[in-house]
């Protein structure tokens, strides 16, 4: 059949079958009920009334009924559940730039949108405007990028200085090198005694620009659209509203803020000459000559701080819309009959019998007719028996109608 939907794999969510003579799918009642958690809902009923917008995100809804009535502004909506992306402005400090890596880190990617579910409806009669929705949900918003490294000022830098003896590790953000002593008033002996080998490190944080803001993460891709198949025996009075498109791509988060540039603060020099030299402010001993590696490191750090190239966020993709996602086709009785399990047919017969007993003649007759149509070409004995029972009951009702006018509407 053209509108058939291949059976999808049963999801992990529980399945729920409903076999009732007449049932209402009410959005308000369904909202807080456990039925909303079911991954697959199978409804077999004589009459079904849809009231309100019944949300069953991503579920598979399989309905078979003699008559389905859509109340005004009602719908069955199995669209993918909206995903919760990142807050557009929320900061994540772990993604901020550091003294070693001044630029902020890229934000995390947004979650993917959920896929739409599946709706299969087979009915003899559909009343009202059938509104069936199985769209994929939009992708989630990505995370905001981390902020660039913001330099601390010179006063804070001084706190890094401390008296040290012997070799010492190079602190983060500093460049180690040899300092040549150019202190005036020292003779060669003294220079030889106190100079010669001096180790120093320099911290240039106060010199550079702030880090660049990190790029937002990649937004989530849209969820794929589901499928809708509406099959009806009698022509529809109104055009149904069927939608099963892919979800839109997610929105990107904001970029990280650029770090604050460092103010020109004190350059700290730590000198360790092995003879208990103390910490000096480099400005006070400017005559010390920075050797090559220190000079080149300083240049390198300055160049890195000065980089201001833009970081561009990565775009996401919209969800896919399946080919032949939506179909609304007339169905023959045989096709409808192939959808009917035996317990459903028994239910229809019991309902019709009850109707006749309760003088609901018109509805009883309609139910018997439906039963007769569904079992007309039956091959198994049970269905043939049901057909015979329905035909016999209809004949009896017809003769009674000739004898006495119907008492009910």
């Amino acid at each position: 059949m053209s509108g058939s939907v291949p059976a999808t794999a049963v999801p992990e969510r529980p399945a729920l079958r409903v076999l009732l003579p007449a049932v209402v799918l009410d959005a308000a009642l369904l909202a807080g009920a456990s039925a909303g958690q079911a991954g697959r809902i199978v409804v077999r009923a004589d009459t079904l009334r849809i009231a309100g917008r019944c949300l069953l995100p991503g579920a598979t809804v399989d309905i078979l009924a003699r008559r389905i009535e859509f109340a005004p502004d009602s719908a069955i909506d199995v669209s993918g559940a909206a995903v919760a992306g990142f807050d557009a402005a929320a900061r994540d400090p772990t993604r901020d730039g550091t003294a070693q890596h001044l630029d902020g880190h890229q934000g995390a990617g947004g979650p993917r949108g959920n896929d739409g579910g599946l709706i299969r409806i087979c009915a003899r009669e559909v009343v009202g405007t059938a509104t069936l929705l199985a769209n994929g949900s939009a992708g989630g918003r990505s995370q905001r990028g981390g902020d660039g490294f913001a330099h601390v000022n010179g006063q804070h830098a001084r706190r890094d200085a401390c008296p040290l003896a012997g070799d010492m590790p190079v602190p983060p953000g500093a460049v180690a090198g040899i300092v040549r002593m150019l202190m005036p008033g020292l003779d060669s002996y003294q220079r030889a005694r106190y100079g010669g080998h001096a180790q120093a490190w320099l911290r240039f944080g106060t010199l550079g620009q702030g880090g660049r803001g990190g790029a937002p993460g990649r937004p989530g891709d849209g969820g794929s659209g589901g499928r809708i198949a509406l099959r009806h025996a009698t022509p529809l009075a109104t055009t149904p509203i069927l939608a099963a498109s892919g979800g839109a791509a997610g929105q990107p988060g904001e970029s990280g803020a650029r770090g604050e540039p460092g103010a020109d603060g004190t350059h700290v020099l730590l000198v360790n000459l092995g003879h208990g030299f103390e910490v000096h402010d480099i400005d006070m001993y400017w005559q010390y000559e920075l050797q090559g590696e220190l000079m080149s490191g300083l240049a390198q750090l300055r160049a890195a701080a000065a980089s201001a190239a833009e970081i561009v966020a990565e775009p996401a993709e919209a969800g896919r819309t399946l080919p032949d996602a939506v179909s609304c086709t007339p169905a023959s009785n045989d096709e409808l009959a192939s959808e009917c399990p035996l317990d459903y047919l028994e239910l229809i017969r019991a309902g019709a019998s009850r109707d006749i007993a309760r003088a609901k003649r018109s509805r009883g007759l309609a139910r018997y007719e439906w039963l007769a149509e569904l079992t007309r070409n039956a091959t198994d004995q049970a269905r043939q028996d049901l057909h015979a029972a329905a035909t016999k009951a209809m004949a009896a009702l017809a003769s009674a109608a000739i004898a006495l006018p119907a008492t009910d509407g």
Binding site: P14, L16, R17, V18, L20, L25
Partner: protein, 796 residues
């Protein structure tokens, strides 16, 4: 604003289910707060209150049972439980009211069972049940008595929701059933001013309890109690006032005695309930109540024996009446055949007449025409002769038309008569069915049909018999005028048949009443015996504990109610007796909801009212009207052929006296030939008596009267000297005990039936009877105005 009644005001309060300020009665019940399943039991339950109370429980509840008379669902209420069972008589769903049932997370299955009789929904379009989010459409007109919604795990592990509906009513809670019946009785005896729907309510409650308890698993004692209550409620016939079998004075005396008994226990019960509230009930208190129960059981035993005697007498009368009716049926058939032959004979005769008439007419016309033709040729005389002949022929043709009309009338008469016979046959079948239906109630096992209103067989009323009688006479007028052979006999047979049918029905009704009383007594004995045992068992269990459970409390309330009910019935009997005695509507109406003190005051006021009436009304004096002398040929013929004479005294016969009550009736035969012998006469009435009130005629239903007596037939004397006959009188008694003067006395306004049984009067030729005397003796008011007796000519 809700359109539903305020049930808390409608239901009389029950002391054993005390409602507290804190919440509904059941919410303080430990059984609910800690029980498994959590069980709610009350006359009126609001579902929202149940949900609130459930939240007060410490632990989760997996099963909830709600037993109520009325359940209100006024707002969305959600239960998460494996089983929610609702057994109520009536469900009221307000706008927005929804019962939501959710399955617990760890439960594999879940069910919602609703058993109810009546569903009222303010907004029928919106669903009122939500089972795991699905709402089965159950509007009131499609709601079955039992609805079972179930969610099970299938073989594949999928959950499956199904709906089972039947009209079967599984039994409800026994304690609630007791409470419902107590309420129904209280509502029934609410007294004057009660709205009509309240009377209907007690019937509905009793019917519901009966319907649920007649289930195979139901409580047979409750089923029987509800069935008896139902029968009492259904047989209320407000248009026909009952006459209790005793005189007013006796009822007054009995009521006083009952009041004393109630007074004795009333204080104790009040003390008990106060004690429960204050210090708790003790073993000694239970001992006191147990003593009352034992006394009640002994009293019930005595009452049962009396009821059995009454029933046996009534059954014998009914059986005799039915035998007579059966015999009359065959006579009726014979009369019908005779009449049919008479009709055939008459038809043949008329056809012959018609044939002769037509022949003569045609011949005369031909002769006339010929004479005219030839007369005109032969002279004026011949012509005149011809004209005369033609005129004669025209007259004969007219006569012919008349005959044809008579034939048509005959056909109509025969048809009407045969239809009447069919009507009589239907009446007979109705009578038989009625009696059979009444017989069936003796089978206590067949209680199911009691709750079905369609199975009630309404007895044929007095008006029905009268209408049939008029119809018969009107239909036979034509046949009698045409002098069809057998018409008179058939008419007599039909009239006798009607009288016998009426009698059979009335004796049947009386027998049914006796059966009802006997069943009531049997049940009361059974109840009292069982209750005494139950109270004893409870007393043993009670030990030294101060706390008692609610079921025990109900026993205390019941014993008080039983006595109060007896007093209410006694005053009710006084009302009936008062109405019959004074022909006024009594101003005192007892109610079961009245306190004991109110009932004592009512009793005193009833006696004061009676005293005042007797002082102010016309004086009652001896009433001895002139005897009826019945010599009408038709009546005597009926006596000759049927050995029975029926004589109806209408209200017009004694227009100037009031409140006539008969204590004796005298009957005698006057024969044309000397006949000195004993004669046995049966005098009976159908049990329906009429009288006059200021507001118009009134009918009373009482036990049919029937009595046989013997006397010596003396030689005929002058009609005015008839009272000299000795030994020809019979006292009006209902049970054959002439000495018992406490029984009620009938009015003369009924159909008196005089029967001369052939088996008791061998050799008596009734053709010799030329007159029947019928004379009443009794009391009446307004004698001073003067009264002349009716005569046969003046009688109806």
């Amino acid at each position: 604003m809700s359109a539903f009644p305020c049930w808390t005001e409608i239901y009389p309060p029950a002391r054993s289910f005390p409602a507290t300020q804190a919440g509904p009665a059941w919410s303080v019940d430990q059984q609910f707060l800690g029980g498994r399943p959590a069980k709610v039991r009350d006359l009126f339950v609001d579902l929202a209150d149940v949900a609130t109370a459930l939240r007060r429980r410490d632990d989760a509840v997996d099963a909830i049972e709600i037993h109520a008379d009325v359940l209100r669902i006024g707002a969305p209420v959600s239960f998460t439980a494996q089983l929610v069972r609702i057994h109520v008589r009536r469900i009221e769903v307000g706008c927005g009211g929804v019962l939501q049932v959710e399955q617990p997370a760890n439960a594999g299955e879940c069910a919602l069972e609703i058993v109810s009789d009546e569903l009222v929904i303010e907004n029928a379009a919106s669903p009122w049940i939500s089972f795991r989010g699905f709402a089965p459409q159950l509007p009131p007109d499609e709601m079955s008595r039992r609805v079972y919604l179930q969610c099970t795990r299938g073989t594949t592990g999928d959950a499956l929701i199904t709906l089972g509906t039947t009209d079967e009513v599984p039994p409800g809670d026994g304690l609630l059933g007791e409470l419902q019946l107590l309420t129904a009785m209280r509502l029934r005896h609410r007294g004057a001013g009660a709205a009509p729907q309240v009377a209907e309510l007690s019937l509905r409650i009793a019917s519901w309890v009966n319907r649920s308890q007649t289930h195979a698993e139901g409580d047979s004692r409750l089923a029987l109690e509800s069935a008896l209550l139902l029968e009492r409620l259904r047989t209320l016939r407000p248009e026909l006032h009952a006459v209790p079998s005793l005189r007013l004075e006796r009822y007054s005396h009995l009521a006083e005695r009952t009041a004393n008994a109630l007074r004795a226990i009333d204080d104790e019960c009040t003390h008990l309930f106060d004690a429960v509230a204050d210090i708790g009930l003790r073993n000694g208190d239970a001992e006191v109540v147990l003593g009352h129960y034992r006394n009640c059981a002994a009293l019930s035993q005595n009452l049962l024996q009396e009821a059995r005697r009454d029933e046996a007498a009534a059954a014998a009368a009914c059986a005799a009446s039915r035998r007579k009716l059966e015999a009359q049926k065959s006579k009726l058939e014979q009369a019908r055949k005779t009449f049919q032959e008479g009709c055939d004979e008459k038809t043949r005769q008329l056809k012959l007449e018609a044939g002769v008439g037509i022949g003569g007419a045609v011949l005369a016309v031909v002769v006339g025409v010929l004479a005219t033709v030839f007369g005109s040729a032969n002279g004026p005389a011949a012509a005149a002769q011809g004209v005369q002949g033609a005129a004669t022929a025209a007259r004969q043709l007219s006569r012919l038309l008349q005959i044809l009309n008579r034939i048509w009338d005959l056909v109509k008469a025969v048809r009407a008569t045969l239809e009447l016979l069919m009507t009589a046959q239907k009446v007979y079948e109705a009578v038989a069915k009625n009696l059979a239906g009444r017989q069936a109630i003796t089978e206590a096992s067949r209680l199911t049909s009691w709750s079905d209103p369609a199975s009630g067989h309404d007895p044929v009323g007095v008006a029905d018999w009268e209408a049939l009688r008029v119809e018969v006479r009107a239909a036979f007028d034509e046949a009698l005028k045409m002098e069809i052979s057998g018409a008179t006999e058939l008419l007599a047979a039909i009239e006798v048949f009607i009288i016998l049918s009426e009698e059979a029905v009335n004796t049947g009704v009386h027998q049914a009443r006796c059966m009802q009383v006997r069943l009531q007594r049997e049940w009361e004995l059974q109840r009292d015996t069982t209750d005494a045992a139950a109270v004893e068992a409870r007393r043993t269990m009670l030990g030294k504990r101060a706390e008692i459970d609610r079921a025990t409390l109900m026993f205390y309330e019941r014993i008080q109610d039983q006595l109060k009910l007896q007093l209410v019935r006694a005053i009710g009997n006084m009302r009936d007796a008062y109405r019959y005695c004074t022909l006024r509507e009594p101003g005192f109406a007892p109610s079961l909801t009245d306190s004991g003190a109110t009932l004592y005051a009512l009793l005193a006021s009833a006696e004061a009212e009676l005293t005042q009436f007797l002082e102010n009304s016309q004086r009652m004096s001896t009433w001895t009207p002139t005897a009826y002398r019945i010599w009408e040929r038709r009546a005597l013929d009926e006596l000759t052929t049927e050995r029975t004479l029926s004589w109806t005294i209408s209200l017009h016969n004694y227009p100037r006296v009031e409140r006539i009550r008969i204590s004796e009736v005298h009957v005698w035969l006057v024969c044309s030939k000397p006949c000195y012998r004993n004669i046995s006469i049966l005098v009976s009435t159908p049990g329906i008596y009429k009288d006059r009130t200021p507001a118009g005629p009134i009918e009373f239903a009482a036990a049919p009267f029937s009595s046989t007596f013997q006397y010596n037939l003396l030689p005929p004397r002058s009609h005015g000297d008839a009272r000299d006959h000795r030994g020809r009188s019979v006292h009006i008694t209902l049970h054959g005990d002439d000495a018992d003067k406490s029984r009620f006395e009938p009015t003369p306004f009924t159909t008196w039936r005089i029967h001369i049984p052939a088996d008791l009067n061998h050799g008596l030729d009734l053709a010799d009877v030329e007159e029947i005397g019928l004379e009443f003796r009794g009391t009446a008011a307004g004698i001073d105005a003067g009264e002349t007796a009716g005569t046969a000519e003046a009688s109806p």
